[in-house]
Amino acid sequence: MDQRLHDLTEQLDAGLIARREFLRKAAVVTGGTAAGLGALRTLASAQPKTKLRVWLFKSFVTAGNEVLAKHIEAWAKERKVDVETDWATFGDREQKFVAAIEAGNPPDIAEMNIYGPMRYKAALRDVSKVATQLASAKGGHLPFAERAMKAEGKFLGVPRYSMTTVFFIRKDIMEAKGLKPPKVYDPDVVEFARKTTDPAKDLWGFGQTLNRSDDGDGFMSNILWDYGGGVWDKDGKPALGTAFLKQNTAALQFAVDTIKKHKIQPPGVMGWTDVSNNEAYMAGKLVTTNNGASLYYAMVQKKHELAPKTLCVLTPGGPAGSFVGSSCYNWAIFGKSKQAELSEDLIRWVEDESRFNEYVQASVGQAGPVYKARVDNPYWKSDPNFDAILQNILRSVNLGYPGPMTPAAAEVQGQKILTDMAGRVVVGGLSPEAALKEAHGRIEEIYKMRRA
C-alpha cells in the first residue's frame, strides 16, 4: 500500500480527519498515482529504441545489396534496434568516411574495402575478439585476409568476402580462331589479341586502361609483380626505382607496348574510367579484358547474349609468375561508437553461414571466400567460370607485396601513382626509366611522411 494512504488510514483511525476528508485525500493520492504511472508508461514507450548507424557498400551487384539489406532489417526487427542504413559506392565512400571521421560523427559500423582498416585505423576499434571467434568457427581466415585486416597485432576489420578480378575472354571468337586461353601476357595475350583484333570492325583483342582508375592501378600492380618487381621491398621500403628498377622497367615497357607498339588496345583506352571496359566488352568491342565478377553478374542478370559466350580464366602472368592483388571487404566498428557490442552482434548475424550463403548465391561470383571453410562451398563448382574467381582469390597477394601492407602502400594506391607513371610514358613522352624515377620520388616522399 502507498505510504500516504497508510498515513491517512492511521489519521482516520485516530479521529484526526473526517471520513469524507479521508475519502477525498485518498482519491487524490490514488488518482495522482495512477495518472503518474500512466504518464511514466507513456514516457517509457516514447523512449527511442537503441539506434545503430550502419554504412554499407553499394556494389554493382544489386541483388547482393538487396539480400544484405534484408538481413540487416531482419536483425533490427529481432533485436528491436532502430537501424539507420546508408550506402556508398566506389566513387563516394572515401569522401563520406573522411568527412564523417573529421566531423567526429562516423557511423557505428561500416562495410569497407581492403584498404579501409589501414586508411582509417586511427578511428577504428579493435575487433579482434569477434574476428577470431568467427574465424575459428569457419576454419580460419585465408592468409591474405588476416594480414590485410591486422595492424600492430590487432584486427581492425572483420573479413567478409573477396571481390577479385579475372581475365574475361570471348569464348566464341577464341574458338573460331582456334586459340587457347593465354597463360602469360607476353607473348600469349599479345599473340591472342593480335589474332583477334580487327580495327575495321572496331574489335580489339585486349582492353585494359592505364588511366587513373582502380582497374588501371590494379593491372599496373599485378604486372610489376608478374615481372618480378613491385613498388615495395620485403621490408616495406620503396623499391620501384631502385631494387626492382630492372624488373619494373620491363613491366612498364610491356604495359605501354600493348597500346603503343602492339596496337591491340582500342585507341581511346587511355581515357577510360572503371566502367569503360565493362561497357566496351558488353558492346562486343573487346575480346579480352581484366575485370571483377560484376561484369559477369551484369551479363547473367540481363541475360546478355555474351554471357554464355564468355570464359573467365586465371589472370595471365609474366616471367616471375602470375599475381593478383587481393580484395577483402570487411566490417569495421568505429572507435566513437557506443554500440560496439550491438555492432558485433550484427556482424555475427550477417556472417551466419546460411545468411552469407544466400548473399553468395545472389552475388554471381562476386562474394568470394575469405574463410577457409567457405572455400569448399559447392557454389564455386556450380559454374565453370567461378573456378577462375576462386583460384585467383586463393593466390592473391596484398598491397605492399612482398612486404607488409602499410598506410604508405594504401596511399600510393589512393593517389594512383602507378597509373600516373604509365600515363607519363604513353601520353607524356617520358621514357619508362624517367617515369619510374619520377614515381619513385613521389613514393619515397609518401614513405618518409608516413614514417614521420
Binding site: 568516411f97 586508411r119 586511427a122 585507341p267 574510367t273 589512393g414 600516373d420 600515363g423 601520353v427 611522411m449
Partner: protein, 316 residues
C-alpha cells in the same frame, strides 16, 4: 559642499555621458539599435565564413591526416608544393583551362546576345533553348559528354566517321593530352556561354535606342555601331561576367573530374581535382588545403584590380 570622494563617481558618470555623445555623433543617435540589427549577420559571417576560412588557413600550415590530430609544420606544405612537378603542371593546366574557356565563352556569349537582340523569329524560344546548358546540372552534362566522347560507343566519333565521313577513324577524345584538354574546355564552354549571353543581352537591352539612331544618322554602319555604342554600353557587365566566370572556371571540379579525373597522365590535372585527390586519395588534409589556398592571393589580386576598375567605370 561635496567631498573629493563624492565627486569621483559624478566625474565618471560625466565621462561616460561625454563618450556616449561622441559615439552618437560619429555613429548616429540610434547606433545601439543599429548594432543590434547587424549583430546576427556579423555572427553568421564569423561562423560561416571567417571561422572556416581561418581554420582552413591553420590546417594548411599543419600535417593533418584523416582521424589524426594536426601537427604544425609552418609553411612546409606551401614550400613543398612550389617545387612539386605535379602541382606546377596543375597550375599551368588550370590557367589553360580557365583562359581557354573564358575567352571562348566571352565570344560565344557576345554572339548569342547579338543574335537574340536582332529581329529573329521565335526569339523567346531560342533564348530558352540556349539557356538549357546553363540550367542543366553539371554532373548530368558531364556524364553525357563522357558518353559523347567515348571512342567506340560515343556519338561524336559515330557522326564524324560513319555519318559525315569526315574522319577515316575515330578520335580518342579523352585519351590524348591535347584532345583531352580541348574536350574538357569544350564542355565548360558549352555549359558556361549562356551565362555570358544572357548577361550581355540584359546589358544590351539597357542601351538607349536613341544612341543607335544617332549613330545611324551620323553614318555609322553595323560594325561601327557595335564598336562605338554596343561595346561601351556592355563594358561594365563584361568585366563583371568575365571576373565571375574566371573564378568559377578556375574552381571548376566536376567537369574535369567526371571526364578525365585529371588524366591521361596528368594532362588535364587542375587544382580543384588535385586538391580532391590529395584530400581523399592521399588523405593529407593539410596539404590539400594548401593546394586550394595556394592560388588565392593571385586570384584575390585579379579580383581587387577588376573590382577597382569596375567601380572607377561606374563613377565615370
Amino acid at each position: 559642499m561635496a567631498t573629493p570622494a563624492a565627486r569621483l563617481p559624478v566625474r565618471a558618470a560625466l565621462d561616460r555621458r561625454e563618450a556616449g555623445v561622441a559615439l552618437r555623433r560619429v555613429l548616429g543617435h540610434d547606433y545601439r539599435l543599429g548594432f543590434l540589427f547587424v549583430a546576427p549577420i556579423i555572427l553568421l559571417v564569423l561562423a560561416l565564413v571567417a571561422y572556416p576560412f581561418g581554420y582552413a588557413i591553420y590546417l594548411s600550415l599543419t600535417r593533418k591526416y584523416v582521424g589524426v590530430p594536426p601537427v604544425w609544420v609552418g609553411f612546409d606544405n606551401y614550400v613543398k608544393l612550389t617545387w612539386d612537378g605535379f602541382f606546377q603542371r596543375a597550375v599551368v593546366n588550370s590557367f589553360i583551362f580557365t583562359f581557354g574557356s573564358v575567352s571562348v565563352k566571352l565570344l560565344l556569349g557576345m554572339a548569342m546576345a547579338l543574335v537574340l537582340t536582332s529581329q529573329i523569329r521565335f526569339r523567346s524560344f531560342w533564348t530558352g533553348v540556349l539557356l538549357i546548358p546553363w540550367v542543366a546540372p553539371t554532373v548530368v552534362s558531364a556524364l553525357n559528354f563522357l558518353w559523347i566522347y567515348d571512342y567506340s560507343l560515343g556519338v561524336l566519333n559515330y557522326l564524324l566517321v560513319r555519318v559525315f565521313g569526315l574522319l577515316p577513324q575515330g578520335v580518342g577524345w579523352l585519351s590524348e593530352p591535347g584532345t583531352a584538354m580541348a574536350s574538357v574546355i569544350a564542355v565548360n564552354i558549352w555549359r558556361g556561354f549562356p551565362f555570358f549571353g544572357i548577361s550581355f543581352l540584359a546589358a544590351m537591352k539597357a542601351i538607349p535606342a536613341e544612341l543607335y539612331e544617332a549613330a545611324a544618322v551620323d553614318g555609322a554602319g553595323p560594325v561601327q555601331r557595335f564598336w562605338r555604342v554596343t561595346l561601351p554600353g556592355v563594358k561594365n557587365i563584361t568585366i563583371i561576367v568575365v571576373l565571375l566566370s574566371t573564378i568559377w572556371t578556375f574552381n571548376d571540379f566536376q567537369i574535369v573530374y567526371i571526364l578525365t579525373k585529371g588524366g591521361p597522365g596528368g594532362a588535364t590535372q587542375v587544382l580543384p581535382v588535385l586538391t580532391y585527390e590529395i584530400a581523399f586519395g592521399a588523405q593529407r588534409l593539410g596539404e590539400a588545403i594548401a593546394v586550394a589556398l595556394y592560388m588565392l592571393p593571385p586570384l584575390a589580386v585579379v579580383i581587387i584590380v577588376l573590382a577597382r576598375y569596375m567601380r572607377r567605370g561606374q563613377k565615370a
